[in-house]
Symmetry: C2
Subunit: 322 residues, 2 copies
């Protein structure tokens, strides 16, 4: 089966989604073609997931499909963009029909939820890895970036943190938990839901934003560096789920919330006067700190005293901090 046939056969649902306004030409030619309405910019992000690095070896293909696309779309949410389409470069040791079918079903499920369409792809034989490139649109000049946090802004996150990191012993089969707890944590690892609605609502309001993938402290460090400010986080305000607290205990849960990766929640800085409006709209906005003069990220305990953090996130290649 040729490359296009393989994609057409297994990924038909994702590539024919009714979503994907702006796709002038989809799969099947040398390039896909996108159109942008006047006054909009195209947001683009590329992510690679490698077996044994970003997910356990021999993962459930259905869950892998969901996770790979969710993780990638999260970058669009972080910019306040509306999804249009994505390309999938899939490298596989062999093309097993059952595997491909389940993977495509997971991918399609996330594509439908996020209203995004598969517009191109490449299939290659090799060690299992995936590279997804996602495309979205955002009104010109309105994209949320990491640069722009202002002294006095609130520091907020889009919900409970640490669940995905806390789920790792379950993902790896090293520990077990009662079904309700296990299901909640595993869902946050395998099916991260990009906060698209929140990101779009923050356009014109948040002064800086990103999605938390390397851990709260590390990613807040990125906002602080790009904006030339300090971020102050009150440890007690970092939201943790009941499932994570039940599974890991308070100390480990807190560490997951601060330094665990793979949250794919938004972190953002916000002028305080926008807070009531967002909360009244039912959006998941949790204030965890503020923007101050200075640099870097400072974590305060319940007594308002700085806490030392030995590790603050996950890094590929090397040890120096971003």
């Amino acid at each position: 089966m040729g490359e296009f046939e393989l994609i057409r056969h297994y990924f038909a649902a994702a590539s024919c989604a009714q979503a994907g306004e702006g796709v002038a030409l989809g799969i099947g030619d040398d390039c896909a073609l996108l159109e942008l309405p006047a006054g909009e910019q195209l947001a683009i992000s590329t992510d690679t997931l490698v077996s044994g690095v970003h997910f356990p070896p021999s993962p459930d293909p259905y869950l892998l499909g969901q996770r790979a696309l969710g993780v990638s779309i999260s970058d669009l949410a972080a910019m306040g963009a509306t999804p249009i389409g994505f390309t999938l470069a899939l490298t596989l040791p062999c093309a097993h029909p059952d595997w491909l079918q389940a993977f495509a079903r997971g991918l399609d499920q996330m594509a439908q939820r996020c209203m995004i369409r598969l517009i191109g792809g490449d299939t290659t034989r090799g060690p299992l890895s995936l590279t997804l490139t996602v495309f979205g649109r955002v009104p010109t000049g309105m994209a949320l970036t990491r640069k722009g946090a202002q002294v006095g802004d609130l520091l907020c996150v889009g919900g409970d943190l640490g669940d995905a990191a806390g789920a790792l012993p379950l993902v790896l089969g090293q520990q077990q938990a009662e079904p309700a707890v296990a299901d909640a944590l595993l869902a946050r690892y395998w099916s991260p839901m990009p906060q698209l609605e929140l990101g779009q609502a923050l356009r014109g309001k948040a002064s800086a934003a990103l999605d938390i993938s390397d851990g709260l402290l590390a990613d807040c460090g990125h906002i602080a560096a790009a904006s030339g400010v300090a971020l102050i986080i009150e440890q007690a305000q970092v939201p943790l789920s009941a499932a994570l607290l039940a599974f890991a205990g308070e100390l480990a849960a807190r560490q997951c919330g601060l330094s665990g990766g793979d949250d794919y929640r938004l972190a953002f800085t916000l002028p305080a006067h926008y807070l009531p409006e967002l909360q009244q709209a039912g959006l998941p906005v949790q204030v965890i700190g503020r923007v101050a003069v200075g640099q870097g990220v400072t974590l305060l305990n319940v007594h308002g005293q700085p806490v030392q953090q030995p590790h603050s996130g996950y890094q590929h290649f090397g040890s120096a901090r971003d």
Copy 2:
């Protein structure tokens, strides 16, 4: 060194190229942002190159950088698009500074030649592979696709074929050749120059086009299938280089020209009245056949009789023909 630092450090030249009009935000945030002039569409293509599959294990990193980007941009040429930018997802077993520096230098050399800018990336630890996604712009409705070849059109290619396939024994170190021959063939393998000028000149003229990556016969099959026509190729008209003929002999050279992969020359169908104009402009246009009623690709020998072809190109995954 963090992901952005790594990219900024080694890929500074490629990411700061003066080229890349339309890049509103480059490397360093969750997404890059592109702008499109009114009346233009965005062309997008994704390619993965895996060590040991698409290039020999332990390749010269400088040459790999050139080749990976050249191969990817060739898809933009095939659509008649003008390059804007590209993303690079680089998976490496380890981040060796010398390797990265040489790879980035090769990548940058091709980026400068093609006026394209690195706008985003991802670095991951794992078995060596690269996924590049390239972006170009093309006036709305003017992109060259595989669909549209008309009965009576000429079938043309953009120059000598088979050199890259013929170079494989040299690439793999299995054979040697005199320097002039070896240099010519190796350059066609390691530094494929996308036919951007030709592709852009074909807009509004060629009725169908693609770049030859799987071999002439296989790729002409794609045009025939997409357009619902037959393509007739006169074997004696398929252009072969002096270097390939000297190295491989006529029989093997012809087989490389017909079925070898990795040419990255354009193949296109053209109403005959456009031919003089293109040739007078000095563009590399070689007529090798014509479009006829029917389906599939037929190869004719010098006596005008059909030639049986046991193999007609390279396919990933499985054996059925496209």
